[in-house]
């Protein structure tokens, strides 16, 4: 098991800067996802760790050893690619044996380790098949086994599920997660799919424009996003811009349009005397008009099996609410929204807390 540290990693291509000083520490056996829109630098970060990109400044440490200048083949990494990148001219067994042969492992040991790895990803019957004769999911399992059979210091995965169909993707999520926990290998996983990042990771690192916006466990990122941009990128977010009517050491009083009032735990309002709070759609309840904190009208209703999604026009703008399927509210109906003050999240002021 290896600890990976990125110290002020900078990567620039001429004048454009892809990474603006990334610092991140990934602990022994930890599963960390780099999450962000395309072009945010997540893949670049991974390529720098793998050694496929030279870094412009900063350091990459594996267990306190600086490996920034090492060639990829000397870094002891296992990597899984979006395209699987299996060797098409080698059988499954030969693909798995390749890395061991490069490490000059004795032949008999190669055979046993390859057999064990194939068992691990449930591909033993396919040992003599060529990659072309396998399904996408099977190919991805071969790629995973090929990366793990060499027992690398760290495992890097670059959008490994992006080419699979939805059902298979869900299966593979669990498969990769279980495998990673069983092997106990330090893992860095790049994805643009927030669901994938949330379900699989110990920690999610949200990146925008070559910078880390937040690095925290999935629940923390979801419930307490560090910024409005993180809130909107990770799941659906309702952001309410509310006036602060009073504050003390414990929290702030907020006024809602239409006379409602709320109290949230917040250190300070934004500089303009207002506070931006986030409420996730499932954290808002629909109640009868008159009750609740904020009045509104249902503009759209979407049934999606497990729950119903309502789009509600309010004086705070359009909000999205998830309701139970047992509740029947029709489009055009006037309702009130009830917030749970304990779960409202005051978004930190990017300019720093107002005094």
């Amino acid at each position: 098991m290896t600890e990976v540290s990125l110290l002020s990693l900078v990567k620039s291509y001429g004048k454009s800067i892809a990474l603006k000083g990334i610092s991140l520490s990934v602990g022994h056996g930890e599963f960390v996802s780099l999450l962000g829109p395309s072009g945010c630098g997540k893949s670049t970060t991974l390529k720098c760790i793998a050694g496929f990109e030279d870094i412009s400044d900063g350091k990459i440490l594996f267990d306190n050893t600086d490996i920034s200048r090492r060639l990829p083949e000397q870094r002891d990494i296992g990597m899984v690619f979006q395209s699987y990148a299996l060797f098409p001219h080698m059988t499954v067994a030969q693909n798995l044996a390749f890395g061991l042969e490069m490490r000059r492992v004795p032949k008999s040991e190669i055979a046993t380790r390859v057999a064990r790895a194939m068992e691990m990803v449930q591909l033993t019957p396919y040992a003599e098949r060529f990659p072309k004769a396998l399904s996408g999911g099977q190919q991805q399992r071969v790629a995973l086994a090929r990366a793990l059979v060499i027992e690398p210091a760290i495992l890097l995965l670059d959008e490994p599920l992006a080419n699979l169909d939805a059902k298979l993707r869900d299966e593979m999520r669990g498969f990769i997660r279980d495998l990673q926990k069983r092997v106990g290998i330090t893992t860095i996983y790049v994805t643009h799919d927030q669901g994938e990042a949330m379900t699989m990771s110990d920690r999610v690192v949200v990146m925008f424009d070559g910078e880390i916006a937040q690095a925290a466990p999935p629940e923390e990122v979801y419930n307490h996003p560090a910024s409005e941009r993180v809130a909107r990128f990770v799941g659906n977010a309702n952001i309410l811009d509310l006036a602060v009517t009073g504050k003390d050491a414990a929290g702030s009083d907020l006024a809602l349009p239409g006379g409602g009032a709320l109290r949230v735990d917040s250190p300070a309002p934004w500089a303009n005397g207002r506070l931006r709070v986030m409420a996730r759609p499932e954290q808002i309840a629909l109640t009868d008009p008159g009750a609740g904190h904020l009045g509104g009208e249902i503009s759209k209703r979407y049934f999606s099996g497990g729950h119903v999604e309502y789009h509600v026009d309010t004086q705070c703008g359009p909000l999205v609410v998830l309701g139970p399927t047992t509740q029947t509210v029709a489009e055009g109906q006037t309702v009130a929204l009830a917030f749970d003050p304990a779960r409202l999240w005051p978004i930190p002021d990017p300019k720093g807390p107002a005094q």
Binding site: A50, E73, A85, F98
Partner: protein, 279 residues
């Protein structure tokens, strides 16, 4: 109904192939078994004379290994020269690629006769290379650069290089660039990656490029005739000689068929040796 429409679509090309390949081959096959005659292209009746004459006269028989040797050598030279070029173009930036493509294809823009004469100007005893070296005092007697295998292979490789580069290039471009990264991450050095991954994965291109160049090289006439100056005896030259100069149609036809069958056998052996189970 669907099948009928499909066969209608291939009808034109099938008719072309039948008229201009199958029928002539049948004619050549029949002609090769006709009896030879004096003062006319062929005589009455049938005989095996065309074939026996070829194999009994070492002057003719030896042209076959000579032709195969030239073909294989040209193929090998093309492969060795073309591979780095193809690799380079495959990984060049898009803007460069078009330019490099043009350079690779440029030998085809010059007519075959002009190009072959061009080589004679360069390679001849009083040609550009020899006279330059002589003027510099580096050599006394001219180097034998043409009228031999060296000159012919050089000129043939020049012409056929694009036919090797293009299949290699398409094979290399079809390769997922991530597989070389995967090989590196597994600990392979650049040379090992080339030997164990890049080259084997480009094998379909190697195969088609080699077959193409080999077949073109052994059947070429103008270049061996001009650069070889009739001193490099390929079967193709002898076929033309028999048919046009000596007016011995049965013998010429027999030689043409022997060459075609031999080429077919070489190609089959090569295809068998480079068979890929994975494609």
């Amino acid at each position: 109904m669907k099948r009928l429409r499909a066969s209608l679509l291939i009808a034109p090309s099938a008719a072309l192939i039948f008229l201009f390949i199958v029928l002539p081959y049948i004619t050549v096959l029949v002609m090769s078994f006709r009896a030879p005659a004096e003062g006319q292209p062929y005589g009455e009746g049938f005989s095996l004379e065309g074939y026996t004459h070829f194999f009994n006269e070492s002057y003719y028989a030896m042209s076959l290994p000579q032709t195969m040797f030239l073909g294989l050598l040209t193929t090998l030279v093309c492969l060795v020269l073309a591979y780095p070029v193809a690799l380079h173009i495959a990984f060049a930036s898009k803007r460069w690629r078009g330019f490099l493509y043009g350079i690779v294809l440029s030998p085809l823009l010059v007519g075959i006769v002009v190009r072959s004469y061009g080589w004679t100007i360069l390679l001849g005893n009083s040609g550009v290379i020899n006279s330059t070296l002589r003027n510099m005092g580096l050599i006394q007697k001219p180097l034998p650069l043409m009228y031999n295998d060296f000159g012919v292979v050089l000129a043939l490789a020049h012409v056929f290089l694009p036919f090797m580069v293009l299949p290699l290039l398409s094979a290399l471009q079809a390769m997922d660039p991530a597989i070389t990264q995967a090989a590196r991450s597994l600990g392979a050095s650049r040379f090992t990656i080339f030997r164990r991954v890049t080259f084997p994965v480009s094998m379909p291109g190697v195969q088609s490029g080699c077959i193409l160049v080999f077949v073109l090289a052994i059947s070429s006439y103008v270049t061996p005739a001009l650069v070889g100056g009739m001193r490099v005896k390929t079967t193709t030259l002898l076929v033309v000689d028999a048919l046009i100069d000596q007016f011995q149609w049965p013998f010429g036809s027999a030689m043409a068929l022997i060459l075609a069958v031999s080429a077919g056998i070489v190609v089959l052996i090569f295809a068998r040796l480079t068979r890929m189970k994975w494609t």
